[in-house]
Symmetry: C2
């Protein structure tokens, strides 16, 4: 006789085992480790909520403190590997296998643990891909999540950092898994219900608010004139001719410069209302001047950003907010928006090779992908048209009859030819390939593949890869904007000039841009304090960004 | 002074206007039209929940009955155009513009209204693409949705047909829109909370349960021996060599035949546990024998299927279910699973051209796309490997070094060379092109583009397009399985034989399959009654499928 409800019975047993530490659904913080030891089973798939920003830090500490004779060989399936405890569990043997998407601050240690064989790597995913697998072959048996508050029935309020929580909970709770939430406080009534209580089995009140990293704050004071030049090139050479209205900006100073140039340089180009109106984007503080100047119609957010709460509340026409007035973010839907409803993704990377493949992996650092592979890929399932998408499609494939020609998403890599510590952005061979060999990975960790990249912008100009007709043209389009890097110096000058005549390469002067005009006076805000002023005092930057 | 909270104020005004007809959140069915006239504004974007299966039919009737002097020029943004009322609103001028994804039963009338200029068409989308736009440029101001029950706070229980509801509500409610739900009953406590009440503004109790179409029920009695042959070819020629475990089946008798062959022919091939273990799929009754025979590990569902409720409840290890025991479906997540976590999509179509483009549009019928463009496209953001994906990638591109080579999703079109009413499956020119000309569309409504299709299966054999090295080979691979259709008869026989030697074309005999073995005795169930028997009486087919 086959058992057809074994997971349901196991769930009941787990709840019974955990209930010893609970009053109703509430568990004291001191009992968190005992709760996890009672509820989790060796070999379980566990999602320890590590989002791009929000961290279930109390539960991370509690899991890391578990007895590795009781809990071992866990398979961690979570977006972010961000806190030290996320890796401590691998050191101690509590966890063995890892599927993840992003590992910013732990990129060096995760590499060491992989090299040392302490982590069996499933794959490095893009967020939406990992979410997809939650419903097919990586469904968590236990989810350890974070929220702002809970009521006694377990209804959760996530506040502005909803992020991955609804997705993780849906996959876990509806497949007979156990959901344990840490909350900052337990209240009589939550300000809004982000997660219904019948999906939540235990609630642990934390002794301090969960950790959130201000990941998307860029201090305008640190933006260089070279970055301003690349921003001018992007605005005049890409945003304007394609008329890009629906878009996503990656993290970084180059895109922050674009945001701060909209109300100044963009205004001068007459682009207000014509470009950058609808966004899939975290609440970047550097977008405040453009919002205040009437550039932006609406923004849907993956997560939130520290200090932006009051500003968002006062600008509900722009953001998605709940009945309580605070932001409702949702990474799954925002990634879907980035994939299917945006006409452009523009972001930075650490290395680009001669095929246009890019990677943020360098020797000894595995940073993960985050959302870039998803947003930086052409959505082949897309069936609605828009002007920028049609123009890009025609540039890529002028021969196909219009009705049978697909458009193309604009995928733009922007950066300086030499980046941090003077490391060249352009390389003959990606470090990602060396890593793949060393770890015997099926695939090198490529963030955006060359065949999805449409433009590369550096201070030397714009390379439009859509217009290249073969691999050789493509290689020289890349060399032609690679400046004085070794890759750039190995260019065939004549071929590069031919590409320039065909506008495959456009120099600043070809676009009527004088590099000497790339001045910090063009920035709508030149400091964090300026951003606060633009916001009418509503933006409240975190302490590390205040120097006044 | 810019108004930054105008949508919030408008929401309050709308709620106040609607509250005249409400006690708490409850509105009598007789007042539904008055409620809509009070709450909706001319020109609004409105989602009138029309899912693939579940229909907010009371609200559809109520909207169609509105005064077109009060409500006009609405922009309807909804997945399904299924009920007559969905189009009546365009006849009367209440609605003007339409963005949608699927229009099965209304495909003829929607074409007439488009030709007649009564509908201004935005675009025909795939579901996930339309959902994406809900968060960027097609956010509804008002959502009219359907649920099984509500409590007095507006908490909703959707039952097994959750489908699109969470997505529609999230986009609407968190952008200061109004959510109106019709429910079958109002109760003290809902069995589970599918939609939290603070996202729901008005609840209308319907006088009868909302309409659900049994869209995924295929009577095994109607499966032909030709369909059985194509199923054998698919199993032995594709499922087995690629080892496809994670997959989606489209609607149709060809894929139903595959499902019914798993416990018989599939078992004989030794494939149990090796293929078809994890699914993104509606609860197809024809999968019951495979489930009962231990083939299936888990299934995540877009929606549900009439009559499958008790079976699903008793098989919770297989399906995603709630604490109440009934199915939790979710189209957005299941489509995401189909895009990023499945290695194969296999489905049928009405026309395939010589480039491999396929379409379900025929002269005078616009059926829409549903999920096929999304699931039938290669996910270029995917970064995890699997055996089938790597094999397909290598077949398509043997030259690229493995670490830099992307895999490929298997996208299979399966059908008979002559379909319904003897219409040829293969055509020189798609009717979709004629339609695009007539309606001056930017894009012909292609369901799956040829460059995403990897295999075509007919009773004449399998064409593996991955192995084709140029357009000519591709064209002849298609002609080579097109049988006695005009396209098939125009083949160059010598070229086709060369393709067969290279295994680009595989005939039944090349796979060791004797077409005479394609017998109905191979079907694990030969009738709906057989399916009921397999289910131990748990499957309760709708009346139109009962003939005993």
């Amino acid at each position: 006789m086959t058992a057809w409800n074994s997971a349901r019975r196991a769930k009941e047993e787990r709840i019974t085992a955990g209930a010893r530490y609970a009053q109703g659904k509430e568990v004291a913080a001191d009992d968190a480790t005992a709760l996890l030891e009672a509820v989790i089973r060796p070999g379980d798939r566990v999602c320890l909520e590590g989002d791009n920003q929000k961290q279930a830090d109390l539960l991370a500490v509690a899991l890391a403190a578990a007895n590795n004779q009781i809990l071992y060989d866990l398979h961690m399936v979570q977006s972010g590997v961000v806190l030290p405890e996320h890796l401590d569990v691998f050191e101690s043997g509590i966890a063995k296998r890892l599927d993840f998407a992003y590992s910013g601050p732990q990129s060096q240690r995760i590499a060491q643990l992989l090299f040392g064989g302490k982590i069996a790597l499933g794959a490095v995913h893009t967020y939406l891909e990992l979410f997809a697998r939650y419903f097919v072959d990586l469904t968590p048996q236990v989810a350890l999540i974070a929220a702002v508050s809970a009521d006694r029935d377990g209804n959760l309020y996530t506040g502005p950092n909803t992020e991955d929580t609804p997705t993780v909970v849906e996959a876990t709770a509806f497949k007979d898994g156990i959901v344990i939430a840490q909350v900052n406080q337990i209240v009589d009534k939550v300000p809004r219900v982000d997660i219904p209580g019948d999906r939540v089995h235990f609630v642990v009140q934390a002794n301090k608010p969960f950790y959130v990293e201000p990941l998307f704050t860029r201090d305008p004071a640190a933006i260089t004139e070279t970055q301003i030049l690349t921003a001018m090139l992007a605005l005049k050479g890409i945003y304007a001719p394609y008329g890009v209205q629906r878009l996503n900006h990656g993290i970084g100073f180059n895109t922050a410069a674009i945001e701060l140039l909209l109300p100044t340089y963009g205004e001068r180009l007459g682009l207000r209302g014509k470009v950058a109106t609808q966004w899939a984007l975290n609440p970047h503080p550097t977008l405040i001047p453009a919002i205040e100047s009437g550039w932006v119609q609406n923004i849907h957010c993956f997560g939130s950003e520290v200090g932006m709460d009051e500003y968002i509340r006062a600008r509900s026409d722009i953001y998605f907010t709940g009945p309580d007035g605070s932001l409702r973010s949702n990474r799954a839907f925002c990634q879907t928006a980035g994939l299917y409803a945006c006409d452009m993704f523009i972001g930075s990377t650490l290395q680009i090779d001669l095929q246009g493949h890019s990677s943020t992996v360098t020797a000894g650092r595995i940073a993960g992908f985050g959302g870039a592979p998803n947003m930086g890929s052409d959505a082949r399932g897309r069936r609605h048209s828009s002007a920028p998408w049609l123009i890009a499609g025609e540039q890529a494939d002028p021969a196909t009859p219009a009705a049978l020609r697909r458009g193309r998403k604009l995928v733009v890599q922007i950066g300086e030819t030499f980046g941090d510590k003077n490391a060249p952005l352009f390389v003959d061979r990606l470090d990602a390939l060396t890593l793949a060999e060393r770890l015997q990975l099926d695939l090198a960790p490529i963030m955006v593949y060359g065949d999805d990249v449409t433009h590369i912008v550096t201070e030397e100009g714009i390379a439009n890869l859509l217009l290249c007709r073969n691999a050789d043209e493509r290689e020289h389009a890349i060399r032609g904007v690679a400046g004085y890097t070794p890759v750039g110096r190995q260019r065939n000058k004549k071929l590069v000039e031919q590409l320039r005549e065909r506008k495959i390469i456009q120099r600043p002067e070809d676009l009527g841009i004088d590099p000497l005009d790339a001045d910090r006076s063009l920035l709508a805000a030149r400091s964090v304090k300026d951003l606060v002023r633009w916001s009418g005092g509503l933006y409240s930057p975190p302490a590390q960004f205040r120097n006044w």
